[in-house]
């Protein structure tokens, strides 16, 4: 190839402050970005994948983090040695960037149109009326309705997807040569993610930009990448055309990452529902009242309406929905964290909702919960052993006995013996989630409610925790209500799947039915939105699916 690359990164190293877990965030990184291509930079958290982009945009948190060596050539000229004014002309002008969190990336006190106009004001000579016209045009190009009206709105009136479109319009304002997108869809729901990915892909093709797309999700890579760079601990481990990396990965780390991408495989036998159901939810309804005051009526938010499902012993039921669908409502009602307005929740025939505090207490043991955030779900001031033992002690068990049992449980979830004497901050996210599972098991429950138990974890860790949950479920014949936003994750562990939308269950069936013959249009759009669905994970990397016999 003879074309000069748009961007030529040579031996780039970025130093972390002393005392960090490693000296270099980015270690001797070399790659190029050509015009009219999408380069995906893939890695887990802490791989240094965002740092390169930040260095290019002058966003490294000076003075703690700094470039220690190498060069960043934009059209042959080193960005790092340019005078500040010249760098600023590049930023937002020739190189633009879209960030991960659309909810916080816009100034809350400035009208959307003005925020886009600022870029034009800085980098072009357009007079104010022309700028305004251009802003409206840009908003229309990113597919926003009523662009003229929207330009006058404040960010808080826009949804996450709309804000991300605004961010893209802002990045496109000055027709940049390079667009850097730093996990632009990670914070979005799966259907919104699909729309934004489609938009990004079409805009890139139209304008022939060079695009650096940073992501942790190989599904997204399969969706849009031309070329792929895989990073780990600041080093480039694999680099090549997308088809090679996706279908014939060479480096063991790439192979591991691809193998842990959650995916649906025709695997499970349908769950044989034996005997009486363990739990029956019957027309459960919960309405939250938000806001309100002397002069304003409070808004009703229906978190759950007519929610009915059954869980048999040993069965795993998945409750799948996007944010705001009310998927957590039922789980929280079952464990008694919220009180539904109407309906019944029968546990082995007893209606939990009819019980008072004292009457409910015995059932607390039988139903336990695993929480989402491994960093918030453990009290930072208690030793891990105590955290696990606290529940049984509250039910009158002898403390020494409870602690011995806690050690056994910690071993069972794969932590070593000394874990009980340490504090939560000494553990990684995945390990903490194991502790949370041990805490739930200490109560010897019959039903486990797992609320997004892996969504805060890196993919490789996700796989391990899912495996642990499935293993325990089988060994103890536990029933499980598994709440998730990710259909792919649900596909791996669930026998039965309920799809929720706007407080209602729109589809309920065996995992096989839901995946192969979805009946509801919304379920179909969810399945359709799964990134990389057209990509077949290489056969040798298809994991032995959890729960397959």
């Amino acid at each position: 190839m003879t074309t000069t690359p748009l961007l030529d990164v040579r031996g780039l190293s970025i130093a972390l402050p002393p005392g960090a877990d490693r000296p270099l965030a980015v270690d001797n990184l070399t790659f190029t970005l050509n015009p009219d291509e999408i380069l995906c930079v893939v890695g887990e958290s802490g791989s240094g994948k965002s740092m390169t982009a930040h260095a290019m945009m002058g966003l490294l948190p000076a003075p703690h983090v700094r470039v220690a060596g190498g060069s960043l050539l934009f059209k042959g000229k080193d960005v790092l040695t340019m005078p500040e004014a010249e760098q600023r002309a590049l930023r937002g002008g020739r190189i633009a960037m879209v960030f991960q969190e659309p909810m916080t990336a816009l100034n809350p006190l400035m009208r959307v149109g003005r925020q886009i106009g600022e870029s034009l004001r800085e980098h072009t000579d357009l007079p104010a009326p022309a700028r305004r016209a251009r802003v409206v045009e840009l908003l229309a190009q990113v597919g926003l309705p009523n662009p003229a009206e929207l330009a006058e709105a404040y960010p808080f009136r826009l949804s996450g997807g709309q804000r991300q479109r605004v961010m893209i319009a802002m990045a496109l304002a000055c027709q940049p040569d390079i667009l850097i997108a730093d996990e632009p869809t990670t914070a979005l729901d799966v259907t919104t993610q699909k729309q934004i990915l489609d938009l990004i892909r079409s805009i890139q093709a139209e304008r022939h930009m060079g695009m650096m797309f940073i992501t942790h999700d190989f599904g997204v890579v399969a969706e849009i990448a031309h070329r792929v760079a895989v990073m780990r601990h600041g080093k480039l481990v694999e680099y090549g055309p997308a088809s090679d990396v996706l279908n014939r990965p060479q480096h063991p780390y790439t192979r591991q990452l691809i193998a842990s991408v959650p995916h649906y495989i025709e695997h499970r036998d349908d769950h044989a529902k034996a005997g009486a159901p363990l739990l029956v939810a019957d027309k459960v309804r919960k309405v939250f009242h938000v806001g309100g005051g002397l002069f304003k009526k409070s808004k009703e938010v229906i978190a759950g309406d007519d929610l009915s499902l059954t869980i048999h012993p040993g069965e795993t039921v998945g409750l799948v929905g996007e944010s705001g669908s009310g998927k957590s409502t039922l789980g929280r009602s079952i464990v008694g964290l919220i009180k539904p307005d109407s309906g019944r929740i029968l546990f082995e025939g007893t209606d939990l909702l009819s019980l008072d505090r004292r009457g409910f207490r015995p059932y607390r043991r039988a139903v336990q919960m695993v929480f989402q955030d491994p960093y918030a779900s453990l009290n930072p001031r208690h030793r891990v052993g105590d955290i696990v033992a606290q529940g049984p002690v509250a039910f009158g068990e002898d403390r020494a006995k409870a602690l011995t049992r806690a050690r056994e449980l910690l071993a069972m979830v794969g932590l070593d013996g000394s874990a009980a004497d340490r504090f939560p901050h000494e553990f990684s996210g995945g390990q903490r989630q194991r502790i949370g599972i041990a805490r739930a098991l200490a109560m010897e429950p019959k039903l486990l409610v797992a609320d997004e138990p892996v969504s805060a974890l890196d993919v490789s860790v996700q796989g391990q925790v899912l495996e642990l949950l499935d293993d325990i479920r089988r060994r103890l014949n536990l029933a499980m209500l598994f709440i998730t936003h990710d259909l792919r994750v649900a596909a791996q562990v669930c026998d039965t799947i309920a799809v929720m939308r706007r407080g209602k269950i729109v589809e309920l069936g065996t995992a096989r039915e839901v995946f192969t013959h979805p009946r509801d249009a919304y379920t179909r759009s969810l399945l359709d939105a799964i990134p990389g669905k057209a990509w077949q994970i290489p056969d040798d990397l298809q994991q032995v699916p959890a729960g397959a016999h």
């Binding site: 453990l378 606290q390 805490r439």
Partner: protein
């Protein structure tokens, strides 16, 4: 979990805090040994009136009745520290209890308590303190009570905010689902995690309480039996043209004490909330 040695290392990294601690210890020593260093009643005439500083028998000068300023400052330190500590303790008891109840229970309880707190926060607190002490006649008890009554609202708001945010944290919800009682949850799970900001505010409140006490005494609302810094400045006000030292030295004593407490408070903040301290750049 913060280890003790970590705490001291973080505290000692803040040079101002160490300086504050040294000053504070000196003032405490002065207060404890006031009767040894300056035997006799500070209200008694010790020398001739209006002696300037560095006189033979009055290091910091004397007032219009020949009372020793240095002795007054030493004895005044007792009153200041005593009132500062007791009124903070009382304000903590009111504020943290109300704030914890509001934050833990939420809903109507929270509404009612917060309305009440808002009322006390709107009232000009110094005016209320003046009215209370004036009507109930000045004494150590009424002064401490008045300061506590006007100082608790910020502590209540702080405790409420902490409890409110901790209550929805997953480890507290886990404590609920594992059947722990409300008392256990409040005392074992929430309170220890909300303590650091409360300790920091309390240390700053001792400083504010000392300022409040001195202001009350300045207006003539001090305990008539206890020598205090504010009283000394108030008495010196009318003769400031003749005897600047009468108001300058007690004033410096207040500044040093309050400054020391503020510095220690900041050091505590750095040591107890390392994340916040770092973000302050």
């Amino acid at each position: 979990m913060m280890m003790k040695s970590d705490f001291w290392r973080a505290f000692a990294r803040n040079k101002g805090a160490v300086l504050g601690l040294v000053i504070l210890i000196a003032i405490v020593v002065l207060a404890v040994f006031a009767s040894v260093l300056f035997p006799g009643d500070p209200w008694d005439m010790a020398t001739a009136p209006f002696q300037p500083p560095l006189s033979d028998d009055a290091l910091l000068g004397s007032d219009m009745l020949g009372r020793d300023i240095a002795s007054g400052i030493a004895h005044g330190a007792r009153v200041s520290l005593l009132i500062g500590l007791t009124s903070t303790a009382a304000a903590l008891a009111i504020g943290v209890t109300l704030g914890a109840l509001a934050g833990f229970h939420g809903g109507k309880v929270d509404d009612a308590i917060m309305r009440f707190t808002e009322l006390f926060q709107t009232i000009p607190n110094f005016v209320l303190a003046v009215v209370l002490v004036a009507i109930f006649t000045p004494s150590l008890t009424t002064i401490v009570a008045a300061i506590a009554i006007v100082s608790w609202p910020p502590l209540a708001r702080l405790a409420r905010a902490e409890f409110l945010s901790l209550r929805t944290r997953e480890f507290v919800q886990a404590a609920i689902t594992t059947g722990q009682s409300n008392t256990t949850i409040i005392l074992r799970q929430i309170l220890p995690n909300s303590l650091s900001p409360i300790i920091v505010s309390a240390s700053l409140m001792v400083a504010t309480a000392i300022l409040l006490e001195s202001s009350l005494s300045f207006l003539g609302l001090g305990d008539p039996n206890a020598m205090s810094w504010g009283y000394m400045i108030g008495a010196a006000r009318t003769v400031i043209r003749q005897a600047w030292w009468m108001s300058v030295f007690p004033g410096l004593a207040i500044v040093l004490t309050v400054l020391a407490l503020n510095l220690v408070g900041e050091g505590l903040n750095d040591a107890l909330n390392p994340k916040l301290a770092r973000s302050r750049g």
